[in-house]
């Protein structure tokens, strides 16, 4: 059964007010809570019972699958291995995400290892949100891993967001791109207090004509720290771009290390990286639209204004 905390977590990480239409698999405190399959999307527990296998039939159009995880059991560190097999020409939205509620001083954590096999010309939108709440002092850890394999002409768009409340995150994204495939990753991470987050990204442009764009937006508040590694490894005629912007507030710290490897003479690789405070002209502009300095710079309780302020950074 879903209690009030579960409902809040589900609403926050998967935008679900009630059980979704279509296929879904909701995991609570390390166990299956509820599952529904559709004619085109099958979900089954994997052989060693460490996660699920989601199979999407070739040619499936405009369907979605929700696989949120919620956690509110003190002391639990839940690890799950999920596989997604997306058939050729399918078009699907996958909504993942993990919400932790910590009410005690015991730590809680989740590691979701998600592997995607995306078929030829298939289109996948993957949305993942991470969030932790609760009055407990227990450390909340979220360590997501995504591994994406794109077949010829596949198109994958990933929105990876860590909204708030996560004490420690070790985020890993890996991708191997086939010929003519396209990968767009937008990662947004917000840290506050003494939180830390490390994001490691390895994108291998293996096929001819493959393209990848990795955008990272991070905001460090309080004394929090973030480290960002991104490597684009071009092994063919391809195009790759890394863009990372870090906004420092209070005493936050950031290290950003984009890395480009061209192993083919026709590889085109670029990167832009910036770290800094909010620029003065931006601050003045937002104040002239009626936001206070605190709303722009400090803890923002009103999420709408916070969303707007950092646009991409906090948009959830």
């Amino acid at each position: 059964m879903l209690d009030a905390i579960d409902k809040t977590l589900l609403k926050t990480v998967a935008d679900l007010e009630e059980l979704p239409k279509g296929a879904y698999n909701i995991r609570k405190n390390g166990k299956l809570l509820s599952r529904h399959v559709s004619a085109n999307i099958n979900i089954e527990t994997n052989a060693d019972e460490t996660g699920i296998i989601v199979k999407i039939k070739p040619g499936t159009k405009n369907e979605s699958v929700h696989i949120p995880v919620i956690l509110s059991q003190a002391g639990l560190y839940d690890v799950v291995y999920n596989s997604f097999i997306v058939g050729d020409d399918a078009e699907v939205t996958i909504v993942a995400g993990c919400g932790i509620h910590c009410g005690t001083s015991d730590p809680e954590g989740h590691a979701g290892i998600h592997e995607f096999r995306v078929g030829k010309k298939a289109k996948v939108t993957y949305v993942e949100k991470h969030y932790a709440s609760g009055d407990g002092k227990g450390r909340r850890t979220l360590n997501p891993t995504t591994k994406v394999f794109l077949a010829e002409g596949a198109h994958v768009e990933m929105e990876l967001t860590q909204i708030a409340g996560v004490d420690e995150a070790n985020r890993v994204n890996e991708a191997v791109l086939g010929p003519g495939s396209l990968l767009l990753i937008t990662e947004r991470v917000l840290t506050d207090g003494d939180q830390t987050a490390v994001s490691t990204n390895n994108i291998v442009l293996s096929g001819a004509g493959s393209r990848a764009n990795m955008i990272s937006r991070s905001v460090m508040k309080g004394n929090s720290r973030q480290t960002f590694y991104a490597t684009m490894d071009a092994q063919n005629k391809c195009y790759g771009h890394i863009e990372c912007d870090a906004i420092i507030m209070d005493n936050g710290a950031n290290e950003t290390m984009p890395s480009l490897k061209a192993g083919h003479p026709d590889a085109e690789l670029t990167h832009e990286a910036s770290i800094g405070k909010i620029a003065n002209d931006q601050l003045t502009k937002l104040m002239s639209l009626g936001l206070t300095y605190d709303q722009v710079c400090q803890n923002k309780k009103d999420r709408n204004e916070a969303d707007v302020m950092f646009g991409d950074h906090l948009k959830i």
């Binding site: 937006r217 003045t284 502009k285 002239s288 639209l289 009626g290 707007v308 646009g311 991409d312």
Partner: protein
Amino acid sequence: MLELKNLYFTVTGSEENNGGSRNIIDGINFAFDDGKFYVITGPNGSGKTSLAKLIMGINPVSEGAIIYDGTDISALTITERARAGIAYSFQQPARFKGITFRDLMTIATGIDDENNLLDILKRVGICPLSFLDKEVDTKLSGGEIKKIELATTIAANPKLAIYDEPDTGIDLWTIGPMVSLLKKELAESKTTTIVVSHNRSFLEAADVVIIINSGRIVYSGNLEGAMPLLDDLSVCTYRDSCEGDSDAGCYR
């Protein structure tokens, strides 16, 4: 509705004065009437933008008072003035990565409903609907960002709207419609409008032309009366270092 009383904006450490202080705005007294269209003009460096920024609170008042709707706002923050109904359109608008025109409109108006936003866009007319999800970043052209700046200012439904050189970067055939738009807003919402501009289209639309020189108001009245003075002041202040209008070396 807005009264400037013995207003000064003083900077210290100015080069021209051997590190001494210099009055950028040098004792201005002026009363702006409700629902009129004012155009502030004058040579480069005369203090037009400094005055506009004083009214918005971007520059601090060194001496004197700004009375807005009967209250002294000289000590209020930018935010407080914005919330009191003053809006400001920047000559060089800030650019934000990851923030869309839609986001700015939502902050300016508090509205995030699609239909209402579209209504505002239609009313403003200057930005195509396709702008809504454009990021307000460095990829926008100078003209596009100025249109967005203007639209967010109008959308906020201010009682007093200040536009600092709204025509910079705008194509010639948009300036006419832009003037009409500001006039229309003024007629419909009684928005007191202050435009800082050298552009003849704005000067011709003005109820009152104000000429500023060396931080002082040297004229206020109709355009006809302003013309002889404008001709006198039209000498470029950068003449000594001029490399020509079309050259990158032009400082104007």
